[in-house]
């Protein structure tokens, strides 16, 4: 009896669609919740155990004032304790510094010993800031990071060309907070966000932008209006993928190009020879394959671009199926004609 039930497949599809929509909305809300919690975890930096750092005690001499938003000292004239606010850019957050690349340093490795006295002598603020190449240049230990190449790329970048000496490594990489990311972080999205925030520090903040120019800061969202699915692009692609000259040998490209040279063609990324595979993505794929094994690493890597052909295996398989279909059709047709 059941078999005779006259159910049109359209009704089945309709019911399935409703079930699917319901399940989808449930999955999507739980998805949102997890992404929310992970975001709050990200914002809260880990509390650091200072005893693990041999210079931490000495650094506390500086950080007891520079480690928080206010500091106190005794006015020798009035004999009173004065509490003042620390300028925002002079505050060093311990939690950030002690996870940064330079966490093992003591302050006076780079800053003058004369800072030990308070009030600090006025001429100390004229002290030159060291740039990356000053310490990392010619050092074999850092050879794999190719600092010389980075330096020469940077020198020919639009930043260096337009602003000459005013634009230093510090504009993007604060030595107190900089943390290597692309090479060590498995989470591609985190690396992308970290790298893009470096650009947005000036290009998304008019005060920082106008430190080096009197020009009006262009509105990034407006300038990128031509880009379809803007939000997806901004969260999944680094600014430098389109705005820097990509080089196969570097994980981070430093040759930032003038805006007219920026990549504007969809197929530059959405294609077999996608420029995205030149640097970060290439690195991530090889890492992912190394850690998870070939198939899983390739399939579970987060490094694919939507649209273009990417899996050779599937291409070959589809070609074989296509060819077999046509061979079958051909044989069938030939036999029909013969009869």
């Amino acid at each position: 009896m059941i078999y005779k039930a006259n159910i049109r497949p359209a009704w089945v599809v309709l019911v399935l669609l409703m079930v699917f929509t319901l399940a989808f909305s449930l999955v999507n809300t739980s998805d949102l919740e997890t992404s929310k919690t992970s975001q709050t975890e990200q914002i809260k930096p880990p509390k650091i155990d200072l005893s693990k750092f041999k210079n931490a005690a000495e650094n506390e001499n500086c950080l007891k004032c520079h480690g928080q938003s206010k500091y106190s000292y005794e006015n020798v004239e009035s004999k009173q304790t004065v509490t003042k606010r620390m300028y925002a850019e002079l505050i060093m957050n311990r939690d950030v510094f002690y996870v940064s690349n330079h966490r093992e340093f003591k302050c006076t490795d780079c800053h003058s010993e004369d800072y030990a006295t308070f009030p600090h002598a006025g001429n100390l603020r004229m002290e030159a800031k060291a740039n990356c190449i000053d310490c990392h240049g010619g050092d074999e230990k850092y050879a794999k990071f190719k600092f010389e190449k980075i330096e020469s790329e940077f020198q020919s970048s639009i930043h260096s060309q337009t602003h000459s000496k005013d634009f230093t490594c510090w504009m993007c990489h604060n030595a107190h907070t900089y943390k290597i990311n692309a090479r060590t972080n498995d989470n591609l999205k985190e690396t992308i966000t970290y790298d893009n925030l470096i650009c947005l520090n000036c290009h998304g903040d008019v005060d920082n932008y106008q430190l080096l120019t009197d020009k009006k800061k262009p509105n990034i969202l407006q300038k990128h209006e031509w880009l379809p699915n803007q939000a997806s692009h901004f969260t999944n692609v680094r600014c430098i993928e389109c705005h820097a000259q990509n080089d196969d040998t570097l994980v981070v490209a430093h040759h930032i190009m003038p805006k007219k040279s920026a990549v504007r063609k969809c197929e530059s990324c959405h294609s077999k020879n996608s420029i995205l595979y030149a640097s970060l993505y290439k690195h991530q794929v090889s890492e992912s394959i190394q850690k998870k094994g070939f198939v899983k690493g390739l399939l579970l890597g987060e490094t694919t671009t939507i649209g273009p052909d990417k899996s050779n295996m599937l291409n070959i398989l589809s070609l074989i199926i296509f060819a077999l279909t046509f061979v079958a059709i051909f044989i069938h047709a030939a036999l029909r004609i013969k009869k």
Binding site: S271, L299, I306, L314, H332
Partner: protein, 207 residues
């Protein structure tokens, strides 16, 4: 005279219009889909144009599918897509035997076309799979790619968007294969062109 009376009016106007629109849209989607899939800077079909046409054809296919879907929900035509489960496998086998062996022995088709059964079992199975599984899936996943923000972020460790993309392509490929076979099988009729003629004038000419 007798021959004339055997002609069956099987394909009403709305089905023929839908079928033609569906065919043209699917062809457009396959061509533009392939050029997006195998895009490379400097190829003949401009990527942007291919994407625009693909999106547009996809939206039109959604409308055409809605017409098909609603039409087969409420008109008599929908009954042709109802598969009677009992004995279906053996009927499938019979039809398969006919296409692979019987046809060449000049045997009569096991399920001749009638007003009640315009599809043979193999057609029924393929069309249900095509129109109620693959096409809805390709349409839905297409919309998911058109509006990535509505697509699930991650699914069992896979990126939701990548998975949607992959399945969209696989389903699109399956549809292309079915379409090729469909066009070939249409040449099996009274003569190689009669089935194509049927889809224009609405009348089926029996073997």
């Amino acid at each position: 005279m007798n021959h004339q009376s055997e002609r069956l009016y099987l394909y009403p106007v709305w089905i023929r219009i839908w079928h033609m629109a569906n065919a043209l849209l699917c062809l457009t989607l396959i061509v533009t889909g392939l050029s997006i899939q195998f895009s490379n800077p400097g190829t003949v079909v401009k990527f942007k144009a291919a994407v625009t046409v693909h999106n547009l054809a996809g939206i039109l296919l959604t409308i055409s599918y809605a017409i098909f879907f609603i039409g087969n929900l409420f008109t008599a035509n929908g009954a042709h897509y109802v598969i009677p489960v009992r004995g279906f496998l053996s009927r499938l086998q019979k039809q398969f035997y006919y296409y692979t062996i019987g046809l060449f022995k000049k045997e009569n088709p096991p399920f001749p076309v009638t007003e009640e059964d315009k599809f043979n079992p193999l057609q029924q199975a393929t069309y249900v799979l095509l129109m109620y599984v693959l096409v809805p899936f390709v349409v839905l996943s297409g919309w998911g790619l058109l509006f990535p923000e509505i697509t699930v972020n991650s699914f069992m460790g896979f990126s939701g968007l990548d998975l949607t993309d992959l399945l969209h392509i696989v389903a699109g490929f399956a549809i292309s294969i079915i379409m090729c076979v469909h066009v070939y099988f249409c040449t099996i009729g009274k003569n190689p062109f009669s089935n194509f003629k049927s889809m224009i004038n609405g009348y089926h000419e029996p073997h």
